[in-house]
Amino acid sequence: MRRSRPLLGTFVDISIEDDLLEANSIFQIVFGRIEDISNKLSFHNPASELSIFNSSEKSECLTISEDFAVVLKTSLEISAHTGGVFNPAIAPILQAHGTLPKLFQTEFKSVNESVRFIDNFKIEILNSVCLDFGGIAKGYAVDQACFLLKKFGVKNALVNAGGDIRAIGDKAQKIQIRHPVHPEKIAFTLNLKEKSIATSLCRNSFRGQLNSSIVNGVSGEPCYNNESVTIVHNSCMIADALSKVAFLLPKMQLETLLEIYNATLFVTETSVEKSYLSRSSTLCQAPLD
């Protein structure tokens, strides 16, 4: 059985392969959990936990939910591993570009200099900062959905939140990766078994303007190119976050990052005449014709 709901700004598609009488109830509960995460971490929702955080002042201390804590802690960790290139505090830049609505008046700064954990669920705001978890929250929601499905005894399933995907079970699932420039074409396919993938690209059209939500968290510069990157990892949250920085890091630093997280990278490049698929094991390019 397969269901889809509009959540997290996109469509969340859940397939359960098992033949279960209670499948309808399971879908309802799992979508409910995703909606709960979306409500907490939404930049657009003025009542969300994230919006409360974004409205807070320097020196304020906040008690946060487990969902917020996990996503923030992971963001700080990846930010540290990437020298600040992964930075959820780029929201002011995304606001200026129109990718995010102009809801908060804050300057762009580093997340690691702006918030610290006092204990597991309490944080101190060191500098007034505006966060957006668009680069990691979908992946986190997919992981949580899969944990819940397993808790209900589901053996084989797939959760797809706008292209952030996790497969659970023995059955390999066929995943089609869109061409970054021609979305009606499929660039390549992967068979996924008990793994997650996330794909990011630098171009997206917003009200006719070319925008990029791939922004260097140190320089504030957006990245524009015709590539897409697909990260494969156990965790969809990690895959999601790493896919946002793969464009921005020099080769050596990227290889180190992939090794730290034991992640695999696929790059789909397009040039004038040939298109390439490269794999992280060698980062060499093989032409596809």
Binding site: S4, D13, F188, T189, N191, L288
Partner: protein, 175 residues
């Protein structure tokens, strides 16, 4: 060598998917899921141009009476099937609104994507009016799980606003 759990199924790529459709629920399944035992009676919607204009103003999208199917339950709830369209996406969905117009349930019934000349073909468009799939059209029925450019759900959000407005202006006043 790639780890055993990850295999590239096909490197001969860049094949074109002209269109694909995913059916999540049939109409009957959607009614059973969202409005079980509801004793649904179909409504023939009569609506003035003035009301249509108000709904379009509120929702930000055009009002398409042909794409709408409305049933009323004995409880006073409404079960509605509607369609929204993005640049390349066409989505059929169902909602339940209670007698006060609050959203009680939502399910996507069908999601379709098409590019190029396909979307301009009369037959491709007409299938959605008739809620039937014409087997002569090029629909890819293979299992589709796609990663890549994110499809926004903003159109369906506007569609729901359209239905909430319809309830407020028309449905709640039906005898």
């Amino acid at each position: 060598m790639l780890p055993a759990l990850i295999t590239v199924a096909s490197e001969q790529s860049f094949f074109i998917e002209k269109s694909f459709a995913i059916t999540y629920l049939t109409l009957e399944e959607a009614q059973a899921t969202l409005a079980p035992n509801a004793n649904l009676q179909k409504i023939d919607l009569a609506i003035s141009e003035e009301k249509i204009e108000q709904i379009e103003d509120y929702s930000g999208i055009s009002f398409n009476k042909e794409g709408l199917q409305i049933w009323r339950a004995s409880s006073g709830n409404f079960f509605i099937v509607d369609n929204v369209r993005g640049k390349h996406e066409y989505i059929t969905y169902a909602v339940v609104l209670n007698s006060l117009g609050a959203l009680q349930g939502l399910e996507i019934l069908e999601y379709r994507e098409a590019y190029g000349d396909e979307v301009r073909r009369e037959a491709w468009r007409d299938q959605f009016k008739q809620k039937k799939i014409d087997n002569n059209l090029e629909l890819n029925e293979n299992i589709i799980n796609i990663s890549g450019a994110t499809i926004s759900c903003s159109q369906i959000t506007k569609g729901i606003r359209r239905l909430l407005s319809l309830h407020n202006l028309v449905l709640k006043n039906l005898s």
